[in-house]
């Protein structure tokens, strides 16, 4: 698979405000469940946060409260899947990836159980809850599990498309959703293709490779860079695993300089995956923008983006410095 050379259909900065991905979680599953009787939602007592409550209203008997017991919840999901049901998990990233990781490994990834791990509260935006709730190594962890695939949609439009895809995909998958509204990147013409990266902007000086809710900010950063004379391409990698190696080699070849940008640690996530792939297939200078292996804290969303260097402004600054360095 290779990236569409022609930029994909996406909106151009200034991007309009989007909707919270978590609302699309509740709404999309409620819709899908009308057609698909296999779908159930298991909730770890946070349905009012993940908006599983929207699904509950529509399908009360298929909303299953599991309480504050995530290990059991993931195990119950695995068991249900063996009878042909398709459980979607409703909790935060912290409590679906980290707390029950052994259950995800032994009961879901290894037996290839058809369970959908679809938490919200990904990345830095967790409602000012701080370190205990902010997970920025979920992609590093889930990517290292055999049989697990990882998808991080960029906005609420893509989130809905990814959830539809997940319901049809036969096997375990991890879909990383956000709590708060960020910018809208795609319009209704957007199509999600599993395993396929999309070029949002082609550039010749440097290639920015981005995933999840960071992508809209990365595209905005590219616009800022254009203003200061740097022509930066933007490749959106929604599917972090399996990786679209062809698309990466293509942008690496075009610019000879790749910079990954993610609302995630720079150790083992998108940046790690890109460095691995290019080191093997097309050695290239790869710089990684993201959380630099630091502790995180609570704070307003805008403050966090600024502190950790992930606002469009701060990304542009870092890219500028890296490009001039060379």
């Amino acid at each position: 698979m290779t990236a569409t050379a022609a930029p994909a259909a996406c909106l151009r900065p200034p991007l309009p405000p989007g909707r919270p991905m978590r609302e699309l979680f509740g709404e999309t599953l409620a819709e899908l469940a009308i057609e698909d009787p296999r779908i159930v939602v298991l909730d770890g007592d946070v349905g009012s946060s993940t908006r599983a409550d929207i699904f509950e209203k529509a399908h009360p008997t298929r909303y299953l409260q599991m309480g504050i017991a995530e290990q059991n919840m993931l195990g119950v999901a695995a068991g249900m899947s063996t009878l042909g049901l398709v459980p979607f998990i409703s909790t935060f990233v912290a409590f679906s990836v980290v707390r029950p990781l052994d259950q995800v490994r032994v009961l879901i990834a290894q037996p290839r159980s058809n369970v959908k791990i679809t938490p919200s509260y990904a990345g830095l935006f967790t409602g000012q809850t701080g370190m205990s709730h902010i997970i920025v190594d979920d992609l590093s962890i889930m990517r290292s599990l055999p049989n697990m695939v990882c998808v991080a949609p960029a906005d609420h439009v893509e989130a809905a498309l990814v959830l539809r895809w997940a319901a049809g995909y036969d096997g375990p998958c991890y879909v990383r959703l956000g709590r708060d509204a960020t910018a809208q990147l795609f319009d209704e013409r957007h199509r999600f293709e599993f395993g396929r990266a999309v070029t949002l902007r082609s550039g010749h000086d440097v290639s920015l490779v981005s995933t999840g809710a960071q992508t809209p900010r990365t595209l905005e950063a590219a616009e800022l860079l254009a203003a200061s004379g740097i022509d930066a391409g933007v490749l959106h990698v929604a599917t972090v695993k399996p990786l679209d190696v062809g698309a990466l080699v293509e942008v690496a070849t075009r610019t000879d300089h790749v910079i990954t940008v993610e609302e995630h640690t720079i150790l083992g996530g998108l940046g790690g995956a890109v460095a691995e792939a290019l080191s093997e297939h097309r050695p290239t200078r790869v710089d990684r923008i993201g959380l630099r292996d630091v502790d995180v804290e609570s704070g307003a969303n805008a403050d966090l983006l600024d502190i950790y260097g992930l606002s469009a402004q701060r990304v542009a600054e870092q890219v500028r410095a890296l490009v001039h360095q060379r």
Partner: protein
């Protein structure tokens, strides 16, 4: 806001009125801080106000001016989402200025959304992921035993939190070491965040029915003491009894009301965490005996 209580410190004998006043002040600071931060949990901190007041002003052997005093009793807020309640109690007790409470949840604040011991002196463990605090408290009690130190280890759990298996791992392991210096308190406020659908208030049912929690802890080999979690005199008595070990760890099951102190918040799951509207803020503060100077409520209100 007068800092009188923070100033005088813990009364020599039990002063029920003073403890009640501390609990009221805790609630006031919780509402004020959460409203200011426009984020944070409400129902849980309010139900725990008397428990925190009694611990910090009567029971715990601590030195606010020497938070790292090696022989202090330890306290862990296992239900870490009630951090603002703990911060309010600590501020009133003199650990830091009450004014600092308004930095709650903000970037660079020592008062993180959930307790972060690397930032705020006086915190005995970082929490926020439910079910964990009791294990750390057990470790403290066990270490005190091994090193021959007279330290009591207190931990506050939620009743919903007791659904976490880790709580029962600790419950099963602690009696093996006869840790009667380990005292767990369950804030039994009969609500969790969202809960099971059913015919309770707002269509949800309690995490545990009356008596169920006591039966479980007893079956795991703990001494169980039950108390009205809003009666400061009763809390002092039961916690002092708990401090007198009988060879088993003790759990104090405190019957409380989630959202206690603000009529329209009491007993409603949706006040677990929620943005406070300007008018709600005004009436909450009024109910708590701190009517707002018109100046205070408005601007924040309009900012919402």
């Amino acid at each position: 806001m007068s800092g009188s209580i923070a100033a005088v410190g813990p009364p020599p004998a039990v002063d029920v009125a003073a403890l009640r006043e501390v609990a009221r002040r805790i609630r006031v600071e919780v509402i004020r801080s959460v409203n200011h931060a426009r984020a944070g949990h409400i129902g849980g901190p309010l139900s725990a106000a008397e428990i925190l007041a009694v611990l910090y002003f009567q029971v715990l052997r601590i030195r606010p001016d020497e938070p790292a005093w090696p022989d202090r009793d330890r306290f862990i807020l296992s239900k870490g989402h009630s951090a603002i309640g703990l911060y309010a109690a600590m501020a009133l007790r003199g650990y830091f200025p009450v004014e600092e409470l308004l930095t709650f949840d903000a970037a660079h604040s020592r008062l993180q959304g959930h307790p972060d011991m690397t930032r705020l002196p006086g915190l005995d463990m970082s929490t926020g992921s439910l079910g964990m605090g009791i294990s750390a408290a057990m470790g403290i009690a066990l270490a005190a035993r091994l090193t021959g130190r007279d330290i009591r280890s207190y931990v506050l759990l939620g009743d919903g939190e007791c659904q976490e298996g880790q709580v029962w791992e600790a419950a099963m392991a602690a009696p093996r070491y006869h840790l009667d210096n380990l005292i767990a308190i369950v804030d039994h406020n009969r609500l969790q965040q969202y809960g099971w659908p059913g015919d309770g208030p707002d269509g949800r049912v309690p995490p545990q029915m009356p008596g169920e929690l006591a039966a479980k802890w007893r079956a795991f080999g703990w001494r169980v003491l039950e108390v009205d979690g809003h009666d400061v005199a009763a809390l002092v008595a039961v916690l002092e009894e708990a401090g007198r070990g009988d060879g088993r760890p003790t759990v104090v099951i405190a019957a409380t009301t989630k959202g206690k102190g603000v009529s329209f918040m009491e007993g409603h799951y949706y006040w677990h965490t929620r943005a406070i509207k300007p008018d709600e803020y005004a009436s909450a503060m009024a109910e708590l005996g701190e009517p707002l100077p018109v100046a205070e409520g408005a601007p924040e209100g309009t900012a919402r």
